[in-house]
């Protein structure tokens, strides 16, 4: 079989904003819904439709869900051969639809599936792709040399270089503008039960060579914690000193109705499970309150929590960088501070 070539997409201002509706065994995770939230803002700014691409086997039940979270149009591909995600078959679906409908923006979650799929599509469509974005905006871009203005481009904003810099990436000539978006950084939109979407049924024929991978076994572990959904997080670092010391963290979290979390150093020292790690290689959180206990505030840690509405830092070193991102700073030994804090909470001031 000869490799199928797809037509490249040129700049088209009427193109829709698309969200890839990743699903696993017929259920959507949070990621596509988060993407719809941000997609809504982008589509409104551009004055175009927000659409979702839904592919799978017996996934029609998800149509209402996608509509409720903001999709105005849903491209729906049903095929028994799409029951399990596979790189090549799903690449075919997306490329065929992109070539036909010419969206201007396509967003994917930066999940195991999104990061496997999106680069393959970008390579086939010969378009750009920015990985792991933490923010997306629409803005004009003036080319410094020619002064040519490219209006309303997708600004793909992401940390790079180990989190030491923030880069804004654009693509102005070869479209669609594609990005994978990190989980948990876009706020979840409100659910609107009454919203309806136009459903466009599409067929894509899947041949045996599109199913090059045989999936012998699949296991999904339910995540033990859901840091992203927590309003209050109490995070402990290496400074907590021991697993026993971490009991203070759990106690404070419980007193506040929140959940515990940790820096990577605390995870590496075995104080708590990796699922609880916040930061660049852990979860990105944006709670209403983040209490950092015995955490120095390394950039890789703050990258995952600096969007918290309020930050309280407890550290015995008055020069710890964590105070630089804190709203309230408490200089002291946590073993002294936390019991007093719990007492104050119980008394409700």
């Amino acid at each position: 079989m000869k490799k199928r070539k797809y037509k490249m997409i040129e700049v088209n201002r009427q193109g829709e904003v698309w969200v890839f509706a990743e699903q696993y065994e017929g259920s959507l995770g949070e990621v596509p819904l988060e993407l719809l939230g941000r997609g809504r803002l982008l589509a409104d700014k551009l004055g175009v439709k927000l659409s979702a691409v839904l592919a799978g086997n017996k996934v029609d039940t998800l149509v209402d869900e996608l509509a409720a979270f903001g999709a105005e149009k849903i491209y729906h591909v049903e095929n028994t051969d799409l029951a399990h995600y596979q790189t090549i078959s799903y690449t075919k679906v997306l490329c065929q639809l992109i070539e036909k409908h010419k969206p201007q923006i396509v967003l994917f979650g930066a999940t195991a599936i999104g990061r496997d799929l999106a680069p393959r599509i970008a390579s086939k469509m010969r378009c750009g792709l920015t990985a792991d974005c933490t923010d997306l905006q629409i803005e004009d871009f003036t080319e410094p040399r020619t002064k040519e203005v490219h209006s309303n481009l997708l600004q793909q904003i992401r940390p790079a270089f180990g989190g030491n810099i923030i880069a804004t990436i654009i693509n102005y000539d070869r479209w669609p503008q594609m990005a994978t978006v990190r989980e948990g950084v876009m706020p979840m939109p409100e659910r609107n039960e009454n919203a309806k979407a136009e459903v466009v049924k599409e067929t894509v024929s899947i041949s045996p060579e599109d199913l090059a991978i045989k999936i012998l076994e699949q296991h999904r572990e339910a995540k033990k914690v859901n840091l992203k959904a927590s309003r209050i997080i109490v995070a402990g670092g290496a400074g907590v000193g021991s697993k026993e010391g971490f009991k203070h963290i759990w106690d404070l979290a419980n007193a506040l109705g929140g959940v515990p979390a940790a820096s990577r150093a605390a995870v590496d020292l075995g104080f708590i499970d990796h699922d609880y790690q916040v930061g660049q290689t852990g979860t990105t959180v944006r709670p209403a309150l983040y209490i950092a206990v015995g955490i120095s505030g390394a950039i890789q840690h703050t990258a995952g929590m600096s969007d918290s509405a309020k930050v309280v830092a407890i550290n015995c070193d008055p020069d710890a960088p964590i105070f630089g991102v804190a709203n309230f700073g408490i200089v002291g030994d946590y073993t002294q501070v936390i019991p007093k804090l719990i007492k104050a909470i119980r008394e409700k001031a």
Binding site: A112, N164, T168, L216, K310, K340
Partner: protein
């Protein structure tokens, strides 16, 4: 059975070592102020290749990197551990390539090698953390990819079985060779260099390295000993220039900001009962806590 394996390895600035000194005033990173290292997950890719070679005598591992002549160091590092051949893909016209152009160039170079059974990459490179080059090479080569490789379960004739990690879980998958694999850092522990091999291959150099050291005349002697690192440019690999370098790269950098933590000027709370009570009171007042 013997296999032909290509390991794609990248030389990267050690982003863990970024300090104030490594940042330029305009917020960009001064790469030359950082040590250049073997991209960590590419060592896991190499280790997987070496384990396959251990179990399948006759297997040949080609180390390939695209970069500046200084990137030869990762090729030598590969030889110290047991690789068989070194290829540096280097060309001024490849500068400013994004992941799409990089994978196009690397795939042209891989094609030039003839029959290859496995192309093994790291999951991602620490300078960009994109994890795109592996899958994009697979597409350019028109072969399947298995990303997030955790463990090689079986390799028989032309069939490979892999356990891959998918965030919250894992799966066992199987496919026919050829395939592109991208390997996780948790997959294995890279072996150290072998002293003997190091003694031998530290003398390996590319023609450009020799020229720079004013030793161009040594090229033939090195070649005779199998110590001349092959240098391929875009013409050698028959790459179409429109897909290379800046022209071949759809993504452009608009802005770079160095991360300066929001020096918000925090409120200092005394670690006394009264101080803490006041803070809790404030947090209740503004509805942060209930």
């Amino acid at each position: 059975m013997a296999y032909n394996i290509v390991v794609l390895a990248k030389q990267v600035p050690d982003t863990k070592a970024v300090t104030g000194k490594a940042m330029n005033d305009d917020g960009t990173v001064n790469r030359s102020a950082l040590p250049a290292i073997f991209n960590p997950e590419d060592l896991n890719a190499l280790e997987l290749a070496l384990q396959i070679k251990d179990d399948n005598p006759g297997t040949k591992i080609t180390m390939m990197t695209m970069g500046l002549p200084s990137a030869c160091e990762v090729l030598r590092q590969g030889m110290y551990r047991g690789a068989d051949r070194m290829i540096l893909v280097t060309d001024r016209r490849a500068a400013a390539s994004d992941t799409l152009a990089t994978s196009y160039i690397l795939s042209c170079a891989v094609k030039k090698l003839g029959k290859v059974d496995m192309v093994i990459c790291g999951r991602q490179a620490i300078d960009g953390d994109t994890a795109q080059v592996g899958p994009q090479c697979a597409e350019k080569l028109d072969i399947p990819q298995i990303t997030y490789v955790q463990e090689l379960l079986d390799l028989k004739d032309q069939t490979i079985t892999i356990k891959r990690s998918v965030g919250a879980g894992w799966e066992k998958v199987q496919c026919q060779l050829p395939v592109v694999l991208t390997v996780l850092d948790t997959a294995n522990i890279p072996r150290p260099v072998a002293a003997r091999k190091m003694m031998k291959f530290k003398k390996a150099h590319s023609a450009m390295e020799l020229a720079k050291a004013d030793k161009a005349d040594l090229a033939d002697a090195l070649k005779a000993k199998g110590l001349l690192i092959e240098e391929w440019n875009l013409d050698h690999i028959e790459a179409d220039l429109q897909w290379c370098g800046r022209d071949g790269s759809p993504t452009k950098v608009n802005r770079i900001q160095s991360v300066v933590l929001a020096a918000s000027g925090h409120k200092k709370i005394e670690p006394t009962e009264q101080g803490l009570r006041d803070m809790i009171h404030e947090l209740i007042e503004d509805h942060t806590i209930g």
